[in-house]
């Protein structure tokens, strides 16, 4: 009983994230993409003109909400601790590589779960790859991988990422002419700004309180035989699955559509869905958390995580400027090369940072 009381917050967090995802799709977000950290950071990069793929340009309020929600609860709980300086450039590169993998698969680990809950069978290959990547990451951890400890920093260092997100909020509301808004494709599908922001704030706050982390759940299960965080992961899946069955029955946007072909913003190349998520899983373990977790930590004053997030944004811009990102037609040759290079780079970073235990 005590154990279940301990697990309840993270299970409830997972359920809220899952429900929020289904609601955001019903309100206009792309199907099976109520939340996706990788896709939404990519959209933000496009909205700012860092890449010119016209179908994925929009400053997503969900991301802004996640960071600000995490900051608010961290401040309220006296947990806003500004730290950084733990191999920032390495974290930037790892974030970049994680994005290359995510845009090969077409989604971050959170969207992978959401896609599973929507019946997208391609995400099963992604999940297997994600687990394999995390397993590889735990081997580095067991060998003594470390990016070295962070140091306390000036308060302004931790406030800059939330400040950047406030600026993004102003831009998406004011919509000046130099900001890009997709008129077709996934970037044009969006829930109302207020709803997206509120959902982001709620999920950000909850994730900060519960430490919800897609990679952490599987890492702890593999390495420590601890299933606490994994329960949040499973709860997201259950909530999305049940939510999709309900909205499907009601004829609302979204729904559960089992199968491989014709899934929303997805492709059917199993090998590259697998390898893309291997890269995401491995990179996430070396970073200490999945893309969602990096955003939440950045909102809590962790400038190392902010570096990882910036690496993801720049990585997304590169992926679309150089044709590395997959489309619904499948992966590109350049994207396959980029994933292989990304795996080599992440393994090299892992090996280079192993210390004697």
């Amino acid at each position: 009983m005590t154990r279940w009381k301990e697990h309840l917050p993270v299970i409830l967090a997972g359920l809220v994230v899952g429900i929020a995802s289904v609601v955001l799709v019903a309100l206009g977000n792309p199907v099976n993409m109520g939340f996706c950290i990788a896709c939404f950071l990519r959209d933000i990069a496009g909205g700012l003109g860092l890449h010119r793929a016209p179908i994925v340009q929009y400053i997503r309020p969900e991301i802004i909400g996640l960071v600000l929600g995490a900051m608010i609860t961290a401040l309220a709980g006296k947990e806003f601790k500004v730290r950084g300086g733990s191999s920032p450039m390495t974290r930037f590169v790892l974030g970049f590589c994680v994005m290359v993998g995510a845009l090969m698969f077409l989604g971050c680990p959170l969207r992978m779960v959401i896609r599973l809950g929507g019946g997208d069978g391609n995400a099963i290959l992604g999940l297997v790859g994600f687990i394999a990547g995390i397993f590889a990451g735990t081997l580095f951890l067991k060998k003594g991988f470390s990016l070295k400890k962070s140091q306390p920093q000036a308060r302004v260092e931790g406030l800059l990422m939330p400040a950047v997100n406030v600026a993004l909020l102003v831009l998406v509301i004011a919509a000046p002419a130099f900001i890009f808004f997709s008129t077709e494709g996934p970037g044009s599908m969006r829930a109302p700004i207020a709803a997206a922001l509120v959902a982001g704030l709620a999920v950000g706050a909850i994730a900060q309180r519960t430490r919800l982390c897609m990679a952490g759940g599987i890492r702890d299960a593999i390495m420590l035989r601890d299933f606490h965080l994994l329960m949040g992961f499973v709860a997201i899946f259950v909530a999305v699955l049940v939510g999709n069955l309900i909205v499907g029955a009601m004829g609302i946007r979204g729904g559960f559509t089992p199968g491989f072909a014709g899934q929303a913003v997805a492709h059917t190349d199993g090998l590259w869905n697998f390898l893309g998520m291997v890269l995401v899983g491995l990179g996430s373990v070396l970073l200490g958390g999945c893309p969602l977790r990096q955003l939440i930590l950045s909102g809590g004053g962790n400038s190392d995580s902010s570096m990882a997030v910036l690496g993801m944004v720049v990585g997304a811009a590169f992926c679309h400027n150089f044709g590395l990102a997959s489309s619904t037609d499948g992966p590109s040759f350049a994207g396959k090369v980029a994933v292989i290079i990304g795996l080599a780079v992440v393994c090299a970073i892992g090996g280079a940072n192993v210390k004697k235990v």
């Binding site: 400890k149 900060q208 430490r211 601890d226 965080l229 977790r293």
Partner: protein, 86 residues
Amino acid sequence: MSSPSPELPHIATFHTHYGALCFQRRLAGLGERAVLAPVPRKLSVSCGTCVRFSAPFQTGWADEDLEAVYAQEGTDYRLLFQAQEE
């Protein structure tokens, strides 16, 4: 996850997973019982690793990666040692 463990009443938290691994192996080398575990939420916002151990803490075990050491008392934690930072 953070249930009281009468056999392992002490919890050491670290700045890195590597620090936890070194500490756990150091104690194991001394013949002390020590296991890696997730950090209890009450002690840290990080989803990192702590070490639960049985022996009374000795300051000589501390290194630069050690953050703090606590004694678990029911569902609460009493601070035993806090590493100083600049």
